[in-house]
């Protein structure tokens, strides 16, 4: 692109936000303890970033580490306290 004549009318991107690995922004990572998890899927419901994956009813929820920004809402909402937030640089 060299001049204003080369631009489209407005901006658009060729991929969806899924291609942006916002997981690199994290300072804290949610860790789900499957021994405490009752699969109520509250974490999946509350995650504002669609970063808790449940493929099939009955599966344990899994955190999508490519996109999870570490906001901690899942840990806060989990009724059994199955989710802990751990600092990224303490996890080997």
């Amino acid at each position: 692109m060299e001049t204003y004549r080369d631009l489209p009318q407005s901006t658009y991107s060729l991929q969806t936000t899924e291609s942006v690995r916002t997981g690199t922004w994290r300072t804290f990572r949610p860790v789900i303890d499957t021994k405490k998890c009752t699969r109520c899927y509250t974490c999946w419901k509350f995650c504002p970033d669609l970063s808790v994956d449940v493929k099939e009813e009955g599966d344990f929820p899994k955190v999508d580490l490519d996109h999870c920004k570490g906001c901690g809402i899942c840990a806060n909402e989990c009724p059994t306290g199955a989710i802990t937030m751990l600092r990224e640089d303490t996890i080997c």
């Binding site: 690199t24 922004w25 994290r26 300072t27 640089d89």
Partner: protein, 184 residues
């Protein structure tokens, strides 16, 4: 007026370095301004920060294109970004590295100063192995190569405004000041 550009990674404290340096200049009765590259920042991504120091009040608000000094907080950045971009012909580069007489991009630049800020920072308990906080050490080293900002002012600035353990940060700055090598 002198203009300084800092290159770091998100989390290393490049932006705080620029702020502490500006404070040091003000404590040395000069005028100063400090600002980050204006944009979305994230941990681990390259971060650029800037500082202006002058005898007279600083009125300009344009960006810095031709710095007099370039400070590199992470030697890996030398391969990733063109840290020398716009550096004035007689400008000085200060790099955080254990290697002496560092070749920047394989081209021997006239004035390259080096300091092992990472080891110094870790020795004083600043940050962790994966994420050392080198900013206070680096500005201690910077005061060695820049007469406008004497070490006393840098220490004063750190004791006033540095986050974390102020004494440890000040000690790191002092040790880095002593440990600068190179030709400038």
């Amino acid at each position: 007026m002198i203009e300084i550009r800092f290159h770091g990674r998100g989390g290393q404290g490049a932006v705080v370095a620029s702020e502490l340096l500006a404070r040091a200049a003000v404590m040395n009765r000069l005028h100063a301004a400090a600002f980050p590259f204006f944009g979305v920042e994230r941990r681990g991504a390259p971060v650029t920060a800037f500082c202006r120091i002058d005898l007279k009040p600083i009125r300009t608000h344009s960006e810095i294109y031709f710095p007099d000094y370039v400070v590199v907080l992470d030697p890996d950045l030398v391969g990733m970004t063109n840290v020398l971009q716009g550096l004035k012909p007689d400008g000085i580069v200060l790099i955080n590295t254990a290697k002496e007489g560092c070749d920047v991009r394989g081209v021997k630049w006239g004035k390259v100063a080096t300091v092992d800020a990472t080891s110094i920072a870790l020795k004083h308990g600043l940050g962790s192995e994966n994420a050392p906080i080198v900013n206070t050490a680096i500005i201690g080293a910077f005061s060695k190569i820049c007469p406008q900002v004497p070490l006393e002012s840098v220490i004063e600035s750190i004791m006033k405004a540095s986050p974390g353990n102020k004494e440890a940060n000040a000690a790191a700055a002092k040790e880095a000041f002593e440990g600068v090598k190179g030709v400038w």
